[in-house]
């Protein structure tokens, strides 16, 4: 845990393994007062041909945001709570450098507005002690908002705030869940449970009902 984190501070946790792909988060994000009509959440199938696994992505709110580092117009600001905000409208030149540079693929270039917009963790809600829209509605609670204590009481796993992208290490305000502590190497794959490689037993040795 980051030494700076307060005990009662609410944290945003994303556990993509629980996502059911329903897009309640996408639809609810577009209802948020500060960017109504526009969803800031990314939700895609990992590989629909192979699996129903879907991948929701909110902004991870990096401690040292790559998007801000690469911004040639100094338009992307982080506030005192560590929230990385949408590009400042007067400064943004819509160059999409941030879109290309973000390791998590979060910023969106809104072409019709000539501005980069992104998830601000529903700052308008969290500042009023309301949960973000997406984590409020998420049916599987793949997106979760609460204190670390509440998480530890309810769910197994370790909360992780450090990610390795090749040689780049990124610390984030938004947390994810892993079985073990330590930085999460994004590039290393983890094998699924055995049946998921062969859900219908087609590769198993001859058995009477094999649909192959």
């Amino acid at each position: 845990m980051s030494p700076l984190a307060r005990r009662d501070e609410k944290v945003f946790v994303i556990d993509q393994s629980r996502c059911i792909g329903c897009k309640a988060c996408v639809q609810a994000c577009a209802e948020c007062g500060t960017h109504r009509g526009h969803s800031m959440i990314h939700l895609e199938f990992a590989d629909r041909g192979a699996s129903t696994q879907t991948v929701p992505m909110v902004c991870m709110h990096c401690a040292d945001p790559t998007c801000a580092e690469v911004c040639p117009a100094d338009a992307i600001k982080q506030n005192e709570d560590g929230i990385v905000q949408s590009a400042l409208k007067p400064r943004c030149i819509a160059c999409a450098s941030c879109v290309l540079a973000c390791p998590f693929g979060v910023p969106k270039l809104m072409v019709e507005m000539n501005q980069m917009m992104k998830c601000d963790m529903c700052y308008d809600r969290t500042s009023l002690d309301l949960a973000p829209m997406c984590a409020s509605v998420c049916p599987s609670q793949a997106l979760w908002f609460g204190t670390r204590e509440e998480f530890a009481d309810a769910r197994p796993g370790v909360l992780i705030d450090e990610f390795l992208f090749g040689r780049q290490s990124v610390r984030t305000k938004v947390l994810t869940v892993a079985r073990e502590d330590g930085p999460l190497d994004v590039a290393s794959g983890r094998t699924a449970r055995a049946w998921q490689d062969d859900p219908f037993g087609l590769e198993e040795s001859a058995w009477p009902g094999n649909a192959r």
Partner: protein, 743 residues
Amino acid sequence: MATLPLAEEELVARFGPHLNRQPPGGWNAGLDIDREVPTHCCFCGQQCGIVLKVKDERVVGFEPRYDFPFNEGKLCPKGVKRYLQGSHPDRLLAPLERDPADPAGFRQISWETALERTAAEIRRIQAAYGPNAFAMLSGVSLTNEKSYLVGKFARLALGTANLDYNGRLCMVSAGAANKKALGIDRASNPWSDIRLADVVFIAGANVAECAPITTSYVWQARDRGAKLIVADPRVTPLARTADVFLGLRPGTDSALMGAILNVLIARDWLDHAFIAAHTEDFEEAARAVADHTPQWAAGVCGVPAARIEQAAELWGTSRTGMLLHARGIEHHTKGVENVLSCINLGLATGKYGKPGCGVTTITGQGNGQGGREQGHKCDQLPGNRDITNPEHRAHVASVWGCDESEIPGKGLTAQEIVNAIHAGEIKGLLSICFNPAVSLPDTSFTAAALDKLEFYAVIEFFLSETAQHADVVLPGSLHEEDEGTSTTVEGRVVKINAAIKPPGEARLDWQILVDLAHRLGRGQYFPYGSTEEIFTELRRASHGGTADYGGITWQRVVDEQGVFWPCPSEGHPGTERLYEGGRFYTPSGRAKFHPVRWRPPAEEIDDAYPIWLTTGRVVSQYLSGTQTRRIGPLVEQYPEPLCEMHPQLAARLGVADGDLVRVRSRRGEITLPAAVVATIRPDTVFIPYHWPGRQAANQLTQRALDPISKIPEYKVSAVAIERLGPGRGTTDARDMSLEGTPA
């Protein structure tokens, strides 16, 4: 005369579905609202709490309702966007009459004309052909109050036996099996019990898409260490994470459950004390599955025997467990048997009446639970009473203040009513909250039947595909325009609050029915001044029945965040968990095992139709889509039906992902894009059913019914498939194109 007044395309151009994408005033109208109204979502039996935002007497948005204990703010995309059904350009605002000469196909008429003509046609048809020649079809998106009123209206105002409801396509197999085995038809447990289960067994339920909030309960159990078993022909989004996946062939559920019972017996994973003390007929059930070994079931179900044994061991050796089933096992000509085979597994292991123990259906429709108790089902009176039982009839007659002989007997079920219309035996129809043109199997048959009606009147808020056939359209009320109660998947009675009044000349559904009753000379039985008065009468009518609402008041429902029936008196706390102490609601007080041997479905694959078809739902659409096909962001999420098929089948057919294919059955055919996905059995394809006309999956399905529940066999058909040509993009490309922001 109930043929379409104009071509379907012309009716669609005038009446929709059009897509409503933004709240009234647009996205930038701001959210300085006038009031917030706590109520419930209308799209599914979970009845999630939601807060609707109202500005200038229009619903303009939503807010999560964190205080409602079932969902604590959680919603699926249908709930998030439900508010867009209000202020919709397709909303019916005035009574209409069929007029082929009118450019719209319908001309606007006064309420007086509409109701007088409807009453006159009812009288004419019943005088000429007898009272039962006029039928009524209803639906369980209606509140308890409306469901009750429809039951009373059909029996006492229309005087017809032929009243049935769209729950006939939904929960009737579970309801019939529950009553046979357990003596009552309700979820065995509050959903909080799912959290306490050591094993969760989901059979034929795409929980992630059809009951999304239930996903969180399943995960809460698993966070405690529970194991998850899923039986489904598809690797649904929740199945993907299961500990044991049983990817069975459509139509083989009772073989799978029989084999699990066979293993429980062979390995002695039984609760002998529970069986002895609280059940009967175990031996008959055991004998029936003596030859249903896992090896045998592997051949029937197409599931490796080792996985069946693994599932049996998890179910049999876990101290607590919940088995959740839905339409996947219920939409069958053996739907009742399938449910009974699940109940047998619960009884054999003593998994009833204890925390974390139960076997229950996941009710599908908004008021699927409550709607099936209040007496708008052809064989039922309020309180889940039996319309053929003299004592039950006498009680209801005493509440209604009529002579018992005035209550008609048992009528035809929904599909049978449409069959009788097709056969010319039923000549007139009044419907509310039912879109059989999309939702019944064999759509060309249904359309031909509707064309034959001499008179058809419909109470609707949008001109559904069925309502296009109407002679008179009576504009009724949307969910957010009336108040009342509904009963959730858990058996919890909750309060629906009116956020706004019906727009234009549209009226509250109950007031339309009461007005019509007066015009039929039966007004004396409908003296209501408010919706709450209907509920007060419902409480009396249900009292003493199994579904006893006697002690439930609107005030209690609000104060207690819902009350679980049975609740016989105002001092009674309600009943969250049924069967505690092993007490069942059968005459003997014991639960009854039923012998279930697997038998084949009504239609099997052959050389001409060599592929199994199964149908179901997607998360962004609800039932026949009358509402959700009009909500832009939901339509964009899954705009058209796709035919899911395995890469091995696709290779055999020469089909690539995104190609257009023609799927044919003995009933009809459909052309649609293929989604080539390894998440479905190679011998089976899946098509979702929410669309009408040439996009209707039900062009392919058949009118074969369960002999007891009369539910159609939507889940098993035999089809042939051929490639037509390239389509408009692959599944992943479609997903990417939908990603992001509504325009």
